[in-house]
Symmetry: C2
């Protein structure tokens, strides 16, 4: 009897469902757009039906499926299976596992989406063969995941590993979490775009000036790669912030590996060529410390599905 897993990647606009083998291979996947107008409980009931249909279409007997793993954005209580709050989805105190279990008679586990991506990269992506790993997902926010001795560390009620919400600048930029100066306010893709907008406005000579109303992380990196000076100054500054955050996590966890994920991790060459030499130069602030590898995620958009499925492995 072969073992299969269902991995669900909940996003702000679409939900993805995947059928995953024990070796992390996705056999089949589907996605659908969600109606944001729907009631939150109805969205979960719809998800239950989509999962059941998906299993049926793939002709896998329920007995061969180990369970359903879910990665969900926001503040997740993994012990109770509840999404306490999700900003993007406007969910509040949503008992996801309890509702799904009314329709699906399988073990169901849920975690924060950054945790799921971390687990996916750790088990089947760039993190294979390491023991302790940290992941920072650089997107709209900065998510975090922590692997300690090969296991996901979630903290009390699954509320730990909020690696983006650690202050690196006392009384600094306002963060979405209410504090001031968090890593997220400096190292997220949104923070990069925001800082770029304020700088580009003063630099008509920059090639970014023409696209200043549509700045994204990707565009800024593109212009920097093409040699625009202002874009390069912006990227240098961004990499400095990110490097300081990374060095903090070197000292706190001294892991074997730090993984950069999320949208900006596609800028692998630029990020690594900027940050790795600084890490080596500063030697993480200590002499005689073991090397921490820095790598970019490699599972891309599949990390969520694979990581969610891994929750059951």
């Amino acid at each position: 009897m072969k073992k299969y897993y269902i991995g669900v990647d909940i996003g702000g606009t679409s939900f993805k469902i995947g059928l995953v083998r024990e070796d992390g291979t996705i056999i089949n996947k589907m996605s659908y757009f969600v109606k944001n107008s729907a009631k939150q409980e109805e969205m979960i009931i719809e998800l239950a039906h989509k999962i059941l249909d998906f299993i049926k279409v793939n002709e896998i007997p329920l007995d061969n499926i180990v369970g359903v793993g879910i990665g969900c954005p926001g503040s997740i209580n993994s012990k109770l299976g509840v999404c306490d709050y999700s900003n993007n989805l406007k969910w509040y105190d949503l008992k996801i596992v309890e509702i799904l279990n009314k329709y699906i008679n399988l073990p169901i586990k849920i975690t924060n989406d950054a945790n799921a991506a971390t687990l996916g990269e750790y088990k089947f992506g760039v993190g294979k063969n390491y023991q302790n790993a940290i992941m920072l997902t650089l997107g709209t926010g900065v998510g975090g995941g922590v692997i300690i001795n090969g296991k996901l560390y979630e903290g009390n009620d699954g509320k730990g590993a909020e690696l983006g919400h650690s202050v690196i600048k006392l009384n600094g930029r306002k963060c979405t979490c209410g504090r001031k100066g968090c890593i997220e306010a400096y190292a997220s893709a949104s923070a990069l775009a925001k800082e770029a907008r304020s700088i580009v406005n003063k630099h008509k000579e920059s090639s970014l000036y023409l696209v200043k109303d549509h700045l994204t992380g990707r565009i800024i990196f593109e212009h920097a790669n093409k040699g625009d000076k202002v874009a390069n100054i912006i990227i240098d500054k961004y990499c400095y912030y990110l490097k300081e955050a990374i060095l903090n996590y070197c000292n706190i966890f001294r892991p074997d590996l730090i993984i950069l994920g999320g949208g900006l991790s596609a800028q692998k060459e630029v990020l690594l060529s900027h940050i790795v030499p600084c890490m080596e130069k500063e030697h993480y602030g200590f002499s005689n410390t073991p090397k921490v590898e820095l790598k970019c995620a490699e599972l891309g958009n599949d990390a969520g599905i694979i990581g969610a499925a891994s929750l059951l492995m």
Copy 2:
């Protein structure tokens, strides 16, 4: 056959040796001053003889002793049993476990002194009955210890948990580690005294002005308790820095407990009355997050011996 443990607490000026029972009780202890003029290897050979003499005096057969645990300041490679570097002791690449094992035929383990104190408090002090705990030792520096699922987490080669060497102020105060803006540069007892000196010099009306050349953390807290306004401003500022550091570790680890240790933890009432309400008010930056308890260490000077002995338990 009763089981006993030897705990060794290596300090900058004196070494302590304790005979510890399985329940964490110290049956007997001794300490001796070290000659800083001695060669580093000779200091360890002397320690070996002191341990053997201590065991003999206590009339415990070697068979009844499980092993020797050591807490040592500085950068320790716990895997290899080596002190890579200790600033206070001027040790460099000192193979402590290898040398001791030439004289003592027992299992010997070593860790950083803050790790040892954390383990002691966790197993037999204020941390009993918790699962995940973080400790910050507030002394000359800021040391750190991390307990994950009941076990000491040391990071690669024992070089993790340097919780004092995480930047909270980008480009801030110079830290002993070479970086700028580390927690240690704001929340250590030395940082407190240094900041106080610069403030008090401008405030002749403060009761601290008369003792401005002998300022220590304890003295500043004493004057604040007696109502000196300037001393209270200094303490408020110090507590703000410490609170921000604590909130960072709430978000990173979401532990059940954060323990404050080191010399300044004797100021329990003031520290807790300042910081706990802020933690509750800021809710760690998130709604719906589980409470993190904040407590001061309770084993006092014995935490080092007990924690070191715990390495073998």
